[in-house]
């Protein structure tokens, strides 16, 4: 704890904050938190205290980073004082700071939920250190400026996901984890191959230098750039569940307890999309002949298949899992259209989706806490019993479906505007139809879980295990927290949209990124 407090003290004392300190804090705070949690192995109370400190610190440091980046544009640091193309670079721009900030909000909410909503055995056997290591991985992916380190951070994140998904070791969980591990190791292999190919063709792993190299018109290996980009599209496509390779997600995300699956479902696939957008705006610019049509088709199919899959499901969590896929399609749509407005729409949509999806998963967790099932058939009548919970679900579901003035509307509006401006009418039409079907799915949950009368009890044993809850009202705290942030970005959308637009401009005009990293 001493070193943590020391860092915090120096951070607040200095009038102009040291950029390397600001960039390192979102990495160091979860890491120190996890290490101290390990030192207090099996002592849950101490771990809760440490994890709470680390979560708050992560939130504050992400907020500070966002503030500083919105003032200055870019922050960079070179780890170990080795200059840029050779050493390890950490770099933050508005896009990464925005994603990091929303991730830290979700982190706090899931942590609060786990206090009441997770059984004590899982807490005892390493839930908190794993969660913090996972957050370390998220920070690393967001802040790295090096393509190989991106791969390494992704591995950190995925290994924590494996462990978290399998934590507790029930039969369903292990089955889901096995699918997750198999397909994701395959994806990691493809990614690593891609990194190797890029290094052999262009001689660098630093993203800024790569961006510079691929913009030289006379580079001999330039025609092979699309080949490299396919490795990354496939690798990150699997990890973020884009159309042909999405099947692992609904097979594994509904198995672990909600305190685990809410964080993973809410955040991790969006981190894949984040990396995809980062690489495809900086290095592999989508060309109009091949990559842009491919991305458009992929995004349309991802949206449609996800939402159709959701319509067929009869389980609260499975519907939500399929909706993750369909919304990944929207995020990809901004990248496929590739105009500043559409990219800003994507960025806003990612932020909105991280918050809303986590909140919906947490709502399903609260429902399951009290009724011990996720099946739509067995649930019912919650509107009468828990009107406040119904309100929380109602607002989040409408935000997800994109009803104005809630946050999903602004994201979809910007994406549709971007599509119209670029003349891609087809994808806009698809996205609007998918949006309607999303509303249908949410209505289905609303009708089945909250509106209809509670069905008579069947003799079948409950699926979700009951966890003894000491303070049931505390379960609502994370939901309210997330809803406040959702309403904040819905009703005061203008500042967030302005930030997203600035972030999109930073992404598209890469010279400032290259200059900031290479200091030329």
């Amino acid at each position: 704890m001493l070193s943590e407090s020391l860092i915090l003290a120096t951070a607040t004392d200095q009038p102009r904050m040291n950029p390397s300190l600001l960039l390192l804090l979102p990495l160091l705070l979860p890491l120190y938190g996890a290490v101290f949690c390990l030192l207090f192995w099996q002592r849950v109370r101490a771990q809760v205290f440490i994890a709470a400190t680390a979560q708050l610190g992560w939130f504050v440091s992400a907020g500070l980073l966002l503030y500083e980046v919105s003032q200055t544009g870019f922050l960079t640091t070179q780890i170990g004082r080795w200059p840029a193309p050779f050493g390890i670079t950490l770099v933050a721009d508005l896009f990464s700071a925005l994603i990091l900030a929303s991730a830290s909000i979700v982190g706090i909410a899931v942590f609060l939920f786990s206090l009441q909503g997770l059984d004590s055995m899982r807490k005892k056997y390493g839930y908190f250190p794993l969660l913090l290591f996972l957050q370390l991985g998220v920070s690393g992916v967001c802040l790295t400026g090096d393509i190989f380190n991106l791969y390494v951070w992704f591995e950190v994140l995925l290994i924590c996901c494996f462990a978290l998904l399998a934590l507790g070791g029930t039969r369903a969980q292990l089955e889901g984890t096995l699918k997750y591990v198999t397909i994701n190791f395959f994806a990691s292999g493809i990614l690593l191959t891609g990194v190797g190919v890029v290094y052999s063709l262009y001689g660098s792993l630093n993203m800024a230098e790569l961006a510079q190299v691929v913009r030289q018109p006379d580079h001999p290996n330039l025609p092979l750039l699309t080949l490299c980009s396919v490795f990354f599209l496939t690798g990150f496509g699997i990890k973020s569940a884009i159309f042909p390779l999405f099947f692992w997600l609904p097979a594994s995300y509904h198995t672990p307890p909600i305190a685990i699956s809410a964080f993973i479902a809410g955040l991790i696939s969006k981190i894949g999309i984040y990396s995809l957008i980062r690489l495809f705006t900086l290095i592999f610019i989508p060309d109009a002949a091949f990559m842009q049509p491919l991305l458009l088709v992929l995004s349309a199919l991802t949206m449609v298949i996800g939402v159709i899959g959701a319509a067929a499901q009869k389980d609260f969590r499975k519907i939500l899992s399929f909706h993750i896929i369909s919304q990944i399609g929207y995020m990809l749509m901004g990248l496929a259209i590739f105009t500043p407005l559409a990219l800003a729409g994507s960025i806003y949509f990612i932020i909105h989706n991280i918050l809303v999806k986590t909140n919906l998963f947490l709502v399903s967790g609260v429902v399951a806490q009290q009724h011990h099932t996720f099946s739509l058939k067995k649930l019912g009548g919650l509107y009468l019993k828990q009107p406040f919970l119904a309100l929380l679900f109602f607002l989040s579901a409408l935000a997800l479906a994109g009803i104005p003035p809630l946050s999903g509307f602004w994201g979809k509006f910007m994406l549709a505007m971007g599509g119209f401006e670029a003349g891609n009418y087809g994808i806009v039409a698809v996205s609007l139809c998918v949006s309607l079907v999303t509303l249908f799915s949410m209505t289905k949950i609303w009708n089945e879980v909250f509106w209809k009368a509670k069905p008579p009890k069947s003799s079948k044993p409950a699926v979700a295990k009951a966890v003894s809850i000491r303070h049931p009202m505390l379960l609502y705290a994370p939901l309210v927290l997330l809803l406040v942030f959702i309403l904040l970005i819905s009703l005061y959308a203008q500042p967030v949209i302005a930030l997203a637009q600035r972030a999109a401009n930073q992404l598209l005009y890469t010279n400032s990124y290259i200059e900031a990293v290479l200091k030329k």
Partner: protein
């Protein structure tokens, strides 16, 4: 594998493995070696010990500490009391006047503590640079140059952290696997 030749050989070889692993750790900065490979070599000693004597024996011999003490009697001199405590703790010879006089403190080092401490050391070695206003993991070297081992500095701390981390990981795996 519990033969007398094997277990005797392991008794003699354990310090050799450990010394060599520390040597590898120190020379790692400018030569082949370093924390990772040092930790692996160091863990060989314990792996063999587990094979020869079982995981419980290894945990008892290397990773736990029992401190014996008893309240000083009124008639005993300070020197005699001190000698008895020394005898009990170093040579294991406890002469009990009454049966239940000796108390003990039992300290157990779990592999997860070694892992955590290694991580803490490695992370903090980088933080030193940060606190000095430099980038993270900026190296600081002392002016000392040791004859066999090389120079001392913060990268060595990082390597020592990695050494402990690897050692702890291997121990955790060995202990878990030998239980099944």
């Amino acid at each position: 594998m519990r033969t007398i030749i094997f277990s005797t050989a392991i008794r003699l070889l354990t310090p050799v493995f450990l010394l060599f692993s520390v040597y590898i750790l120190f020379r790692g900065h400018n030569h082949p070696g370093g924390g990772f490979i040092g930790g692996l070599i160091g863990s060989i000693a314990f792996v063999f010990h587990v094979l020869a004597h079982g995981a419980n024996a290894t945990a008892r011999v290397f990773f736990s500490l029992t401190l014996y003490h008893y309240p000083r009697q009124a008639g005993h001199s300070r020197t005699r009391y001190f000698m008895q405590i020394m005898n009990a703790n170093l040579r294991g010879r406890r002469k009990g006047y009454k049966e239940n006089r000796w108390n003990y403190i039992f300290v157990r080092v779990r592999p997860v503590y070694i892992i955590a401490f290694g991580l803490l050391l490695a992370v903090t070695s980088g933080t030193i640079g940060l606190l000095a206003g430099q980038p993270y993991m900026a190296a600081f070297w002392m002016d000392v140059h040791l004859p066999v081992l090389g120079s001392l500095g913060t990268p060595l701390l990082f390597d020592a952290g990695v050494y402990l981390l690897v050692l702890g990981m291997v121990l955790k795996m060995i202990f878990t696997m030998s239980k099944e």
